[in-house]
Amino acid sequence: EAEVAQSPRYKITEKSQAVAFWCDPISGHATLYWYRQILGQGPELLVQFQDESVVDDSQLPKDRFSAERLKGVDSTLKIQPAELGDSAMYLCASSAGLFDGSYEQYFGPGTRLTVT
């Protein structure tokens, strides 16, 4: 069964350092999402891509966060500089979008970020 891949699974970094996360969606999925999940809370959408274009980044802290999906396949989320409050689980998800009628998002295992 196809899965969403993410790496690394765990990352510990010092504040003010740069950190990057990678996501490879299910093949053929045009829509890719990055979520942040703070401990004890539900996931919150950071950015949504349709192919290589950003369709929603309203909750992305653009002064320190950036995301790209250059060829419309895999994606990278970067934080520079990292702050203590960025400690969270970063989840990637993909879907076929509105086109297949399923409205189902498939999630990867996540990257647990700890900023010290």
Partner: protein
């Protein structure tokens, strides 16, 4: 804008007992509703979804949920839980014109032997 309220942050229950996890939503437009499960240090897995049709929706692992438009609720139920059902459960909503999910804060289901 939509919002989701999960009324119970934790639900302890003994094995083989029934369970209900409550979810209420707020929206000015028609919505789709979802329940996801998250096991420790893992991503989310879809349990079930309501898009249209029958208001009683059956999902994986023996779970079901009922959409109640008048009560704006989508409660999740299982008639007999197992130890392996111990996990975090998230209710989510999206409006029918987008696929953007708004999640609740989650309910921790703890099943005891």
């Amino acid at each position: 804008a939509q919002s989701v309220t999960q009324l119970d942050s934790q639900v302890p229950v003994f094995e083989e007992a029934p369970v209900e996890l409550r979810c209420n939503y707020s929206s000015s437009v028609s919505v789709y509703l979802f329940w996801y499960v998250q096991y420790p240090n893992q991503g989310l897995q879809l349990l079930l979804k309501y898009l249209s049709g029958s208001t009683l929706v059956k999902g994986i692992n023996g779970f079901e949920a009922e959409f109640n438009k008048s009560q704006t609720s989508f409660h999740l139920r299982k008639p007999s839980v197992h130890i392996s059902d111990t996990a975090e459960y998230f209710c989510a909503v999206s409006d029918i014109d987008t696929d953007k999910l708004i999640f609740g804060t989650g309910t921790r289901l703890q099943v005891f032997p």
